[in-house]
């Protein structure tokens, strides 16, 4: 039967040996990470974003690379999923985007800070993560939209923010979100003035609405209304 000194030897050899292997793999990892994560793209802005990420403990609710808390969405591929435009509006006033739902702290970030955060997420999204997050392998197949042609036409003339911001909640030609109503026919239902008033301050038209105040400049709002009026 094993003696105490043999047991001690086992402990010492196992600990020493595996520590050595671990250190070797660490050296190799440190050498490979710059290429896998495109470390040449870590700009001052990305670093500032990381500082903001840490100094506000974003990991206390969100996960990044799957690490953090489980109260708010995974953010590794958030720039792919939402687009920079959407994130900018969201970060100005997080609760406006999801009224009545789970709350995020209003951090009152400056525009530069928001740019830094987006740059930080964008850099993270391009890391080679060995396939994380995984494809949705049980997702139902996307529905075939019959009337896609008119939607496709409509999209050709749409301002850029329609695809990046509006369609997170609204659909055009069967594509987009289902939180707000689809855009088809909106030009028949409302006048130009009504749409303008609505976009300027949704809550004043319909208190308690889920539609956020996007804080659009007058000319941006004008372009958007003009395009919406073409959807009949």
């Amino acid at each position: 039967m094993l003696s105490k000194s043999q047991a001690r030897l086992f402990f010492a050899v196992a600990t020493g040996g595996f520590s050595f292997v671990f250190l070797g793999l660490t050296v190799d990892t440190v050498m490979q990470v710059p290429e896998r994560s495109h470390s040449e793209n870590i700009t001052e802005e990305v670093i500032h974003g990381k500082e903001l990420w840490e100094s506000n403990n974003c990991m206390g609710c969100h996960t990044l690379l799957g690490e953090g808390a489980y109260y708010a969405p995974e953010l590794t591929k958030v720039v792919d999923r939402r687009g920079a435009e959407w994130m900018r509006i969201f970060l100005r006033d997080p609760q406006a985007m999801f009224p009545g739902q789970r709350k995020m702290v209003q951090y009152d970030f400056t525009e530069d800070e928001i740019s830094a955060l987006i740059a930080f997420f964008d850099w993270n999204g391009k890391i080679d993560t060995n396939g994380f997050p995984a494809e949705h392998d049980l997702a139902p197949p996307a529905p075939v939209v019959v009337a896609a042609t008119s939607g496709a036409d409509a999209m050709a003339t749409a301002p850029a923010m329609v695809a990046t911001v509006c369609m997170a909640c609204h659909a055009v030609g069967g594509n987009g979100g289902n939180i707000g109503p689809a855009f088809e026919g909106v030009g028949n239902r409302y006048t130009e003035d009504e749409l303008d008033r609505w976009l300027a301050d949704p809550a004043s038209v319909k208190p308690g609405t889920a539609m956020p105040n996007l804080g659009l400049a007058d000319d941006v709002r004008g372009d958007l209304v003009e395009w919406l009026m073409t959807l009949d």
């Binding site: 003696s3 105490k4 047991a7 086992f10 402990f11 196992a14 600990t15 595996f18 520590s19 292997v21 671990f22 793999l25 990892t29 440190v30 490979q32 990470v33 896998r36 994560s37 870590i42 990305v46 670093i47 990381k50 840490e54 100094s55 506000n56 403990n57 974003c58 990991m59 206390g60 609710c61 990044l64 690379l65 799957g66 690490e67 953090g68 808390a69 489980y70 109260y71 708010a72 969405p73 995974e74 999801f98 739902q101 789970r102 709350k103 702290v105 930080f120 850099w123 993270n124 890391i127 080679d128 993560t129 060995n130 994380f132 997050p133 995984a134 949705h136 049980l138 997702a139 139902p140």
Partner: protein, 453 residues
């Protein structure tokens, strides 16, 4: 209690009880927030509650380990503590740092890196604090009358834990490197050197409680902590699957973390076998419950539930979901909370000289808290697995899925209430024992102590 200065551990144990209460309060705040009642959002947002919940856990477990060391090391080395004054100062400063950190969390003052949230200036204070603790314990050991394996394993565990805190303090511009070395602290603590501390405390308790020969118990201690390092060191790889580290970590991490349950199975068998072999019926059977329970629950929580989502093909879906919370709760409870409660249950009668072994209170505290924690684990499991399927596999929106699993947090809060009841009974028992007494010194003659004379 053989030495007067062992009583210093009472300060640490009492701090454990206080911080455990605080941890539970913040746990409830998060449970209610998940149910949709985030009424405290403006004062205690979720990230504050979360940082408090986990950091207070780490501090009270460390407090428990320190208390255990101040109790065990004098006895194992056969002398009074090197400097009781330093120990008291160290206790007070640790408490001060912890309180400052928790208050800071409520004013957005932190370093938001999971489990290492305390702000950088306080990190330096923690380092000084832990160094003074290690100095005190080290001097006691090296100027002592004897070296024992249990004492040495405990010391090595504590010193390594102090050293491994340092990689977590390096700044990296890259999130990948930041994460890589953050796990040197977090993983190599909880699945490495903390297990040395746990194993040593368990070994001490088994020697005291079962009467099995010290040589036999300490031989198996070596085997178990050896197994811990065989699996645990390279098992760090399971944190490196998806953070941008090379692909070989999928294989290295997968294989070695699949071995991690073996070390915990070893702990469980260690406790159960020694308890059966022991000829002596120690009157403090509640300390025995916690000791053997710790071995078993650490296998279930850390070993089995860890294995359940450690393989890369599973982990790619479960990584960063409530499944992790399921494993985390039972693992920390089984492996570390229970060993601290075990040493407290053993030391309190020794320190105070009061022998309330046979009342219903500590026994119910044991069963109710364990049943409560197991139920909480089940609630997390149902919520977590549902989240994995709906969000990660079907691709539903995050908030829709959270609304769908909110009902399981009602179950969680109910289970947590049961758990809390158990903990309150434990604390009631702790208070009933009162303060350590000089009359208890050498009053409790252990058979082993008698044999040593």
């Amino acid at each position: 209690m053989k030495f007067r200065t062992q009583r210093i551990s009472w300060l640490f144990f009492a701090t454990c009880m206080l911080l455990l209460c605080l941890q539970i309060v913040y746990g409830f705040i998060m449970g209610f927030a998940h149910m949709g009642y985030d009424v405290l959002h403006d004062y205690i947002p979720f990230n504050t509650a979360r940082a408090t919940h986990t950091n207070v856990l780490v501090v009270w477990l460390l407090c428990g380990f320190m208390g255990a060391a101040y109790y065990i090391v004098p006895e194992e080395s056969g002398r009074e503590l090197w400097s009781p004054k330093l120990a008291v100062v160290q206790w007070a400063s640790l408490l001060l740092v912890a309180v400052t950190a928790v208050i800071g969390f409520h004013f957005n003052w932190w370093e938001g890196r999971k489990f290492l949230e305390i702000p950088r200036p306080l990190d330096y204070l923690v380092v000084i604090n832990v160094l003074s603790f290690v100095l005190n314990i080290g001097m006691t050991t090296f100027t002592g009358k004897r070296y024992t394996t249990t004492g040495m394993v405990l010391l090595v565990g504590l010193v390594s834990a102090a050293l491994l805190y340092l990689p977590g303090m390096i700044w990296f511009d890259s999130q990948v490197m930041d994460s890589y070395f953050r796990w040197w602290v977090v993983h190599l603590w909880v699945e490495g050197v903390w297990e040395l501390i746990m194993g040593a405390i368990m070994s001490y308790l088994l020697i005291k409680l079962t009467g099995v020969d010290r040589e036999v118990i300490e031989k198996w201690l070596y085997i178990i902590v050896g197994l811990t390092f065989v699996s645990g060191i390279l098992g760090t790889g399971h944190h490196y699957y998806w953070i941008g580290a090379p692909e070989y970590w999928l294989i290295v991490g997968g294989v070695f973390s699949a071995l991690e349950p073996l070390a915990f199975l070893g702990m469980a068998l260690y406790g159960v076998t020694m308890a059966r072999r022991g000829g002596r019926k120690h009157p403090n059977k509640i300390a025995m419950y916690w000791t053997v329970g710790c071995g078993i629950m650490s296998f279930v929580g850390a070993g089995f539930l860890g294995f359940a989502h450690t393989l890369p093909s599973v982990n790619i879906y479960t990584h960063g979901t409530l499944v992790t919370a399921m494993h985390g709760h039972l693992a920390f409870w089984g492996a570390y909370a229970m060993i601290v409660l075990a040493i407290i249950s053993y030391a309190m009668p020794q320190m105070t000289g009061r022998k309330f072994f046979d009342t219903w209170v500590p026994e119910w505290a044991f069963w109710i808290s364990n049943i409560g924690m197991l139920s909480m684990t089940c609630a997390f499991a149902v919520a977590g697995v549902t989240q994995v399927y709906l969000e990660r596999r079907v691709g539903m929106d995050f908030l829709e899925v959270q609304a769908a699993v909110a009902v399981h947090f009602t179950a969680l809060v109910l289970a947590a209430s049961l758990f809390t009841l158990g903990i309150l009974l434990f604390i009631y028992d702790f208070i009933r024992y009162g303060f350590p007494s000089d009359e208890a010194v050498e009053g409790a003659a252990e058979p082993e102590a008698a044999a040593a004379k």
